[in-house]
């Protein structure tokens, strides 16, 4: 057993519930819903079953030190991860000193670059750029031909007007971005951070769908515990918007999204009998600074919570459904508890995967009940913020850490008729939390779990 402990010393968040960790946490505790109707423009392209999503607020990236020039070469997913990293470093009390005249490269004061790593999770990486570049590639020449035809051919006024209107609707970037490849690759989310902050330890992006963020944090925890690193910039990020709703359509056509409720605010209801899917979220970035405990103490860092275990298993069952028996999820949880030296009768709080799909919630409740009974408090952060896929596990780890710090956690949105007798919170509750479990299950069958504890300092 390693003698190196791993603690969380800083956090940064941009998500539909706020553009800082403080704002996000406040929104969770004040039961703020992120849900609204999907953009009307999407309805031109397909007939969707679900009409709900959780959009991001407008973000001024310049305020996070991301210049107009940077923005030309970054997919929104990288902009999100850079912005949240800037917040997290500041929260951790780490000063980033500019070292070039463009103020785009920074040295992290007091840290050895080779001992700092960047490990992020993302499900789809730079998909927004993929779609935009592909659209330009596909249609640019046809558009030119249409313009030429309009200029040269004789036609009646109505036909001309219709064609002009059609051209106007073919709204896509005018140029195929020369940086497309570096923008779409999944590792851009971590590489851009490593370059900006001169972190020369292991740098990678982990992509296992909804469990990406948890897995990234787990890898970061492992690299610190085994002595490779002293500090990591870790977490999860996702950006799922496109101008036509094509990404949304993928989830919608697979019948995974909440649908047919009187309003968006009633649609997202994990663990409730009336649930019928999850709330699609535009995206988020949740960054946590993980640090070796002694290293944190020596630099006077504020310790938020301790990570005591990481475990992962794989269902080997289905590409889009959890195995109904929940056996691998159970094995993962028991492994994590053993690693953390926490008994099933001792765990105080579970931040659930809690998507709101029929399959997930039933399986998850069954597993929790047979391991823990009704002892630990259980909530789903997704019930407020929606499902941010690759960022979700990291957002939920933030909630687990903040719940430990503040000894309070949020309730479950729209929990009118719980499907289980486990202790699903209906509203926020003050709790005595010494240890917490946060876990994620992903399309494909990947299961990842972290155990957090109140820091012993």
């Amino acid at each position: 057993m390693s003698s190196r402990s791993v603690v969380i010393t800083g956090m940064g968040t941009l998500c539909p519930l706020g553009l800082s960790t403080t704002e996000f946490w406040h929104s969770c505790l004040t039961e703020t819903q992120a849900a609204s109707y999907i953009p009307e423009a999407w309805l031109e392209y397909a007939d969707f079953t679900s009409r709900y999503w959780a959009p991001l607020p407008e973000i001024d990236y310049a305020a996070f030190g991301i210049s107009r020039i940077d923005a030309l070469r970054l997919d929104p997913v990288s902009k999100l991860s850079l912005a949240a990293t800037a917040q997290a470093l500041k929260d951790a009390g780490i000063v980033a000193r500019p070292v070039n005249r463009k103020r785009t490269i920074f040295e992290l004061e007091g840290l050895k670059p080779e001992r700092v790593g960047v490990i992020l999770g993302t499900g789809i990486g730079g998909l927004n750029t993929t779609l935009e570049s592909h659209t330009v590639h596909l249609f640019a020449r046809y558009r030119e031909e249409m313009v030429s035809l309009l200029d040269s051919a004789e036609m009646d006024t109505d036909t001309e007007k219709e064609l002009h209107a059609l051209l106007k609707r073919m709204d896509y970037p005018q140029r195929y971005n020369p940086f497309t490849v570096s923008m779409i690759m999944n590792n851009s989310v971590s590489a851009n951070i490593g370059i900006r902050y001169q972190c020369k330890g292991p740098n990678k992006a982990i992509s296992i769908a909804c469990a990406s963020g948890t897995a990234a944090l787990g890898q970061a925890y492992t690299e610190i515990q085994n002595g490779t690193l002293d500090l990591t910039i870790s977490g999860g990020v996702e950006y799922k918007y496109d101008t036509t709703g094509a990404v949304f359509r993928g989830y919608d056509i697979a019948r995974t999204l909440a649908h047919d409720f009187p309003s968006p605010q009633e649609a997202n209801r994990p663990f409730d009998k009336k649930r019928n899917g999850f709330l699609f979220s535009e995206g988020a970035a949740a960054i946590l600074i993980l640090e070796e405990k002694q290293h944190a103490l020596e630099r006077g860092a504020n310790i938020i919570a301790e990570i005591s275990a990481y475990a992962e298993t794989f269902d080997a069952y289905s590409i889009m459904s959890p195995a109904p028996d929940g056996e691998q999820i159970e094995r993962m949880i028991r492994t994590a508890l053993m690693q953390a030296d926490v008994k099933t009768t001792e765990l105080d709080y579970i931040n659930a995967h809690g998507t709101g799909t029929l399959a997930n919630d039933e399986t998850e409740c069954n597993v929790i009940e047979r391991i823990f009974g009704d002892r630990p408090a259980v909530n789903s952060t997704k019930s407020w913020v929606g499902h941010t896929i690759g960022a979700s596990g990291a957002l939920e780890t933030q909630v687990a850490a903040l719940s430990i710090r503040d000894q309070i956690t949020h309730g479950n949105a729209n929990l009118d008729e719980p499907i289980s007798s486990i202790k699903l919170l209906k509203t926020k509750e003050k709790l005595d939390i010494s240890s917490a479990l946060t876990h994620s299950f992903a399309f494909g069958g990947h299961n990842c779990a972290l155990i957090l504890k109140r820091p012993n300092v």
């Binding site: 210049s67 107009r68 020039i69 030309l72 005249r101 463009k102 005018q174 940086f179």
Partner: protein, 89 residues
Amino acid sequence: MNQTTYTSEEIRQKVYSVVFEVSGIEKSKLENDLSISDDIAPSSLDRVTLFMALEDEFSTSVAEEELQDIKTLGDLINFVENKAEANAA
């Protein structure tokens, strides 16, 4: 080029702003004989970024073959002015 008509001085100042953003060279130090490849955009990626930023600033597109004779900041400003005139005509 977008429909707005700029004066020569406005074009110069806008180009200076873009060059500053791309290279970090203070505007007070920008002179016509500064070399694009040695001073302003030493790497090929910097050069691509410079022309992308100009496209963005002036809402226009620049073809690769138009860039071959642009060696200095002065060449760059002349190029942008000529493009503005051609688009206005």
